[in-house]
């Protein structure tokens, strides 16, 4: 316990870095995943093939290897070091974020593809019959439904990403895991890993709650009609 108090500032800094990494990489990852999922279900073989290769490679290799390749691998090449990207790629935080983002985008694209495939065919036919264009149909019918279907699996992926983010400590990022390992190396007190585990657990707990709240919100039209009537009656009274 004494070490936790002694190094509390560093634990707080590390937790903030972990949260920052999680939020930015999950948002950018999602932004990449949506077009990637659309490309994956596209009838254009070039688009579908490209997305397939992207997802296949990123899901087929360990996150640790991807982080090493981004951080240590790219830095090996003089061309990279002299390019305009070096100010970003020389920074361990950005490398960590890029690695996590690429990795999660592939998984989320696959989850979304599942959601799109799960949209009932009748709804698609109805949209077509109503004369919707392809774009409008995706925007109004398919994607909203796909998100609802995919949401629980997506929440799961974000939690996996939180835990996967601990690997950025191997490329010198001082996230929660990096701080824990550094402080541990001075005290050799194994309790520190327990405190880190508790902090990760708290973050996961909050995440699951938030995701469940959003899930309820997304599916509010599917709630029991009686319940809704009762609630509106209560509100009216």
């Amino acid at each position: 316990m004494e070490y936790l108090i002694q190094y509390s500032d560093r634990f707080i800094d590390g937790t903030i870095i972990t949260i920052q990494l999680l939020v930015t990489s999950s948002i950018i990852g999602l932004a990449i995943a949506v077009p990637m999922a659309l490309a994956r279900v596209s009838r254009n073989p070039l688009l579908a093939g490209g997305a397939y290769v992207y997802i296949y490679i990123l899901r087929g290799t360990p996150l640790l290897v991807q982080l090493y390749l981004v951080y240590f691998g790219l830095g090996q090449f003089e061309a990279v070091r002299e390019s305009v990207f070096w100010p970003i790629l020389r920074d361990e935080y950005w490398c960590g974020m890029i690695g996590l983002t690429l990795n999660t985008s592939a998984y989320v694209a696959e989850i979304l593809r599942g959601g799109i495939m799960g949209v009932p065919h009748g709804e698609v036919e109805a949209a077509r019959a109503a004369g919707m264009s392809q774009a409008l149909m995706y925007r109004r019918i398919i994607l909203p439904k796909a998100f609802r279907i995919a949401w629980p699996a997506y929440g799961n992926e974000v939690i996996l990403l939180l835990k996967g983010s601990a690997l950025v400590s191997t490329i010198t990022v001082l996230d929660l895991m990096g701080v824990t390992r550094t402080v541990f190396s001075r005290s050799y007190s194994l309790d520190l890993f327990l405190y880190a585990a508790i902090l990760y657990f708290v973050m996961t707990f909050v995440l699951t709650r938030v995701f469940r709240m959003i899930e309820r919100h997304l599916n509010r039209h599917l709630q029991d009609r009686e319940q809704i009537e009762k609630r509106t009656a209560a509100q009216a009274a």
Binding site: F72, G75, Q76, R81, R90, E92, T170, T172, L174, G178, R181, T182, F184, S185, R186, S187, Y188, L190
Partner: protein, 249 residues
């Protein structure tokens, strides 16, 4: 019945014989990633100054030694978990470590040194390093020195292995790197790293290197006696000269 008793006696004898042999078996833990003190050769065998010293000590004690490679930041926990009996891995004797393990008498003295690109003109005092990125291996005396003395003026970057830190010195992510002096000297003497040099004065932090054993383990006294022995009979000097051209005790 007689046969059975005989069997039991035989089994018991075997078991006792087993412990008697095991008493003379010492398992040595080392990192295997810290040349020239301990590293793996092309065949995957552990070699280096630490390994040679450990072998000489074992010969002196009349013990049969086996070597185990273990990553640095788990090297003390693994000793406590009895994965091996002694750490001969160029470990500095520190108060924090003494709370966890017992140390033998020191078997050499270490200094720290900064490395940087040749011609960088880097000054290694606080003013000279202000705003620079300085790296070291995590869980080492160098990393602690940087965190305790330099963290207010430099950005400290910590690596899992010494090799990874060397890599970032070469990519330019690091302006300088702090390391134990002997591995640093060996690294800059490698023609592949001729663009780098030691900068500034070496830092004497009264860093004594010892062998760690579990708390209260009588092995400590045996090792101390053996260490005295190899110093007196010249074995130590011979090993030290082989690696460093002089006695580094």
């Amino acid at each position: 019945m007689k046969k059975l008793t005989g069997l039991i006696i035989a089994a018991a004898a075997l078991a006792f014989a087993g412990t008697a042999v095991a008493g003379d078996k010492v398992r040595i833990g080392t990192e295997g990633a810290y040349p020239p003190f301990n590293e793996k050769n092309e065949k995957g065998e552990l070699v280096g100054f630490d390994v040679d010293i450990a072998k000489a000590l074992c010969a002196k004690m009349g013990a049969e030694c086996t070597f185990v490679a273990q990553d640095w930041d788990g090297i003390i926990p693994a000793l406590k978990a009895k994965k091996y009996d002694a750490i001969v891995a160029s470990m500095s004797i520190t108060d924090e470590r003494k709370k966890q393990v017992d140390f033998t008498n020191p078997y050499y003295a270490n200094f720290l040194a900064y490395m940087a690109k040749k011609g960088s003109g880097l000054k290694t005092d606080k003013a000279g390093l202000k705003g620079k990125v300085v790296g070291a291996q995590r869980a080492t005396i160098s990393s602690q020195y940087l965190e305790d003395n330099m963290a207010d003026v430099v950005k400290v970057k910590l690596y899992d292995t010494q090799t990874a830190a060397y890599g970032d010195l070469k990519t330019g992510r690091l302006d300088a790197m702090l390391s134990d002096i002997y591995p640093a000297l060996q690294w800059i003497n490698d023609p592949a790293n001729s663009g780098y040099e030691i900068v500034g004065e070496r830092i004497d932090i009264n860093d004594q290197i010892g062998i760690a054993v579990r708390k209260g383990d009588p092995l400590r006294e045996k090792l101390n006696k053996a260490l005295d022995g190899i110093v007196k009979d010249g074995t130590y000097e011979k090993i030290s000269s082989k690696y460093f051209g002089r006695n580094i005790m």
